[in-house]
Amino acid sequence: MIQMKNLSKWYGDFQVLKDCTTQLSRGEVMVVCGPSGSGKSTLIKCVNGLEPVQEGQISIDGQPVTGRGVDLPKLRARVGMVFQHFELFPHLTIVENLNLAQIKVLKRDVTTATSKSTALLERVGLKAHAHKYPIQLSGGQQQRVAIARALAMDPIAMLFDEPTSALDPEMVNEVLDVMVELAGEGMTMMCVTHEMGFARKVADRIVFMDGGEIIEDVKSEEFFSAPRSDRARSFLSKILQH
């Protein structure tokens, strides 16, 4: 479904991605982890072309993301993305947040879009907040709206970029619950996250990155029971200590 081949990316002289190759099959859940600054967020933003790469190829569902003449907006419309800081549109109500791209990109009419939005808001338990503004909601609620907004586009895959990192601890679970449910329904997901409990529970594969390189790319059980590399071992011991 998603293929990344020999990706390299530089910011000036600094190489943020070093020859990264991995792939994601339909219905698979991949968790990307690693210390901060290891390039995980950059990698996930390359998948839908929010960050350009200098070398390598990416394709989604057989369609190239990299290279000349790619209609990126059309491609992005099919891949949902959830950001660390939610990025809801503050000047629009919740339901308008969900409607905007449905109407402007998918050309749905307002009634169709609204009923789709309402159904999704109900699913994430926020139907009652449809006509509020993002600022009136808690962080956890905002992130659930952001997930619903991405789902409103009927995506073939979902990308999560540290979806719980900006949340207060007591709100992490309400967001993870939605993600677990989504994974259970067979959604293809790529998640950058530090939530190792979540990773253990739903991830099929773990990609461990450090210094812009993919150090390990293994089945989830394998990663947690017997990490092959020293770096992954030391990362896990730090993160699982408490």
């Binding site: 933003k45 839908n48 929010l50 990126l72 907006p73 059309k74 491609l75 992005r76 419309a77 099919r78 891949v79 949902g80 993305m81 950001f83 800081h85 990025e87 809801l88 549109f89 503050p90 000047h91 905007l100 791209a101 402007k104 990109v105 998918l106 503004y133 600022i135 907004r149 991405a150 586009m153």
Partner: protein
């Protein structure tokens, strides 16, 4: 002490009222056109196209470096000659004071509004743009539906402050002998020899209007700070 005669204001009232209407109309038109053109200039300034960027930068720099009175003079005296040369007419094509006032104020204010709007656009976080793009919106759609509405809302207090300055600056049209609010008062004051009463009254009206507008601007500022 002056011997004040308020009745002169009553006598001048119809003319003053017409003058005030002209002043308000000029302010309103220059504000509306200024904000629309200013937005376009701001978008050009931020675009990837070098020619557009250069044009907008040049325009804004020139307009902001020349006193408004000079812009008015230039337009009033030089544009007729320019039009004559362009269209090879027998005589200079007169534009007239009123048309000159409207066009120059719109052009001049556009430069100032554009700088405010550009600042507003740049103040919206990159994450908003990424979120819009991730949903499949094209760059122009992201700008129109996501970035610009937020930028304009955030800059509302500053736009209003600029409009207050514009409202006061419109009195400069006296150099074209237009009977705007100040101009009308000036004519009466000099004819009747009642400078003190009329200029006092006119100043008071400007004061009241500007004070109310600046109060509104402060309130807007507080409310945008709450939601931003």
């Amino acid at each position: 002490m002056f011997d004040l005669d308020p009745s002169v204001i009553v006598r001048a009232m119809p003319a003053l009222w017409n003058g005030l209407k002209f002043t308000l109309l000029l302010t309103l038109v220059a504000m509306s056109v200024g904000i629309v053109v200013g937005t376009l200039l701001a978008l050009m300034r931020l675009s990837g196209n070098r020619v557009m960027r250069g044009f907008a930068l040049g325009y804004v720099t020139v307009m902001r470096s020349i006193p408004l009175v000079l812009v008015i003079f230039w337009f009033y005296f030089l544009m007729p000659l320019l039009l004559q040369m362009t269209f090879h007419t027998e005589r200079p094509v007169q534009i007239g004071p009123v048309m000159t006032a409207f066009v120059t104020f719109c052009m001049f204010e556009a430069a100032y509004y554009s700088e405010i709007i550009r600042g507003g656009i740049q103040s919206i976080s990159g994450g908003q743009k990424q979120a819009a793009q991730a949903l499949g919106l094209r760059p122009s759609q992201a700008m129109l539906y996501v970035i610009l509405p937020q930028a304009l809302r955030r800059m509302l207090p500053l736009l209003l402050t600029q409009t207050i300055i514009l409202f006061q600056d419109t009195s400069l049209v006296y150099v074209l002998s237009i009977a705007d609010f100040t101009g009308a008062a000036s004519k009466f004051a000099q004819r009747d020899g009642r400078l003190v009463e009329l200029y006092l009254f006119v100043a008071l009206v400007y004061l009241v209007i500007c004070y109310l507008l600046s109060r509104l601007s402060k309130r807007l500022k507080r409310s945008t700070e709450r939601t931003a």
